[in-house]
Symmetry: C2
Subunit: 360 residues, 2 copies
């Protein structure tokens, strides 16, 4: 199979049908599809349709309970603790961020910590739910352990992304980033493309720096070693800082929820134990939210128009690349890699769908 340009409406129809056949009701299939497609539209190929196979495997492994409903186990006017009840991460996260938003609307702040969930896609989907309502949005998740602490060999933290969104025009400030040098998804993309990874991203199973993505993925999934935190493998360039940011994620996701820390995620049959954290904050508790937003927009403009580094033509602010990719891909479709097309084809066969009818 060659790579193929697929329109978003085609991809949506395929995903919604596939999730329905996996047992999700229509509304849930739509939510999960929304999260995957936003990633592809944003140009984050690692976390969109590329991940369908992983979710399918996790459903088959019994990590994901298709019809379960998340449960609030404790609540105050500014906070909630949620048990994800082993539900699909996207569905659990959607409910949790809605609660954070409601609390922020009423109390000014809503903090929701979630245990016992599953992989939830791009962190930024949920922080944007808040900024779309005029609120500051924060979203974090732990994951399968994939990142080694500074001076360590064994992965003890997940890639633990942090997303932070703030309402702005022409599009929200939207920072969404793994606290490792790169996400596991990026290594997977290099692996699919048969491209070596840059030096300093990850380690092989012996804990030595490695540029073959297959070896690094083997190292992560065997739990033998993994990726460097943001800042790399030493203190000289701040590896202990990336390690620290991943610890903040761990504390807000898995510690205060009394959930599973990343080093124990996916270590028990039938449960992954992934944990999340969501915050929504109403800027109105700090004053005139319109003036505040204008203040940010001016600052972002100043940054974008500041002097460029040698041979660089443009300075981006966070969320710009994604917003531009969104417009471009919505209009022109998404180029899907042959290996991903093969995975989608296999999935179709397994679910009794006719792959070709979706992508003519």
């Amino acid at each position: 199979m060659n790579s193929k340009v697929i329109r978003i409406d085609q991809l949506r129809a395929f995903c919604e049908e596939a999730f329905s056949r996996l047992g999700f009701n229509h509304s849930d299939s739509t939510i999960i599809t929304d999260v995957l497609l936003l990633s592809d539209l944003f140009g984050i190929d690692s976390h969109g349709i590329n991940r369908f196979k992983m979710y399918h495997q996790q459903i088959k492994a019994g990590y994901i309970e298709i019809t379960s409903q998340p449960e609030i186990v404790m609540e105050t006017p500014v906070s909630a603790v949620m048990d994800g009840k082993r539900g699909m991460g996207q569905l659990v996260a959607n409910v949790a961020m809605k609660i954070a938003i409601e609390k922020a609307m009423t109390s000014g702040v809503g903090l929701v910590t979630v245990r016992n969930s599953n992989h939830y896609g791009i962190a930024g989907f949920y922080s944007l739910m808040a900024s779309n309502e005029g609120l500051i949005g924060i979203s974090m998740t732990n994951s399968l352990a994939a990142v080694v602490p500074t001076f360590g060999k064994t992965p003890m933290m997940g890639t633990n992304p942090i997303a932070f969104s703030f309402p702005a025009k022409p599009h929200p400030f939207n920072f969404d980033s793994a606290t490792s040098v790169v996400s596991v998804g990026k290594i997977e993309v290099h692996n699919k493309l048969d491209q070596p990874i840059p030096f300093g991203w990850g380690l092989n199973s012996e804990g030595m720096d490695e540029q073959n993505p297959t070896e690094v993925l083997r190292s992560v999934f065997s739990g033998k070693s993994g990726l460097h935190p943001l800042g790399g493998g030493s203190e000289e360039h701040g590896g202990h800082k990336g390690y620290g940011f991943s610890m903040i994620v761990e504390i807000l996701c898995s510690i205060i929820s009394m959930g599973t820390t990343s080093n124990h995620v996916e270590k028990t049959a039938g449960t992954s134990g992934v944990c999340h954290f969501f915050a929504a904050i109403d800027p109105k508790i700090f004053g005139d939210s319109t003036a505040i937003q204008k203040h940010l927009e001016n600052y972002l403009k100043e940054i974008r128009s500041s002097e460029k580094a040698k041979d660089k033509e443009r300075i981006y602010t966070h969320g710009e690349k994604e917003a531009e990719s969104f417009i471009q891909r919505k209009a022109n479709g998404i180029v899907i890699h042959p290996k991903t097309l093969n995975e989608m084809n296999e999935l179709s066969n397994e679910l009794g769908m006719d792959f070709n009818t979706y992508f003519q």
Copy 2:
């Protein structure tokens, strides 16, 4: 002058007297001294007595209004906006974090954003104020612009540290880190020691990578260029991530407070415009805080006892090095560099103090 070992009680007597002679009342002199000394005790030489000269210069430059009182300009049960009224950063920050703590004790969460303050020392001093009360503590500040955005030449963000503390035994989890590869203070320490800095920390006034600390400091203080964000000067190793973390600090400090963004800090005569953000969160809003703390302590132990990288003997968790340095330096005193001793001596002369009587 040679370097000298100075006991903490000697350093305290000297600092308190010097700040009193600069016009601060006894209680304020003690608070400022507490912040400086904790930095030296923690082994963070860049932010302790090494910075006395800078504060003295900023007082002379009229940035710091010695007897001013910070003012709350807006307040909700979970938040406050404070005008620092150009006060000494340590004093403003001390008041602001106390308000955040009070609000957390009553409402579960306290968020305080501060404009119109000054350099406040180590961020971690204030997050530890919260964790000492059994709360989660967060402290951030912007600063003089010193960090270039990804693909930029001109510094547009401060080194913008983030501190995050969580109660734990034998000592709190305490992460305190500039969102740049290194702090300006670290470059100053290399400069004092006449040591080149590692490649990838900073840029000279032409915006090119530079290992001479004098050139990098000149570049920062002239506003021509500066330091790389955490992750370095390209996207390949995540420089856009460090840039993003510094933007979060900017948003919570200078944007929501309607204060001065780092690119305008110290650009107006008589006002620096530094902004801060403080948060305190009561873990009890998430459940049994004793069980939560134990959960964290177990996780930290697991990390410390996990397999070490080749040739590494120990994995640290955040706050450990500082806690060990505290015990060691409290017992044995602090080695002060000759250049810093000279600065202290000059300060003594200017303030009519007899330097030698303090350090016999």
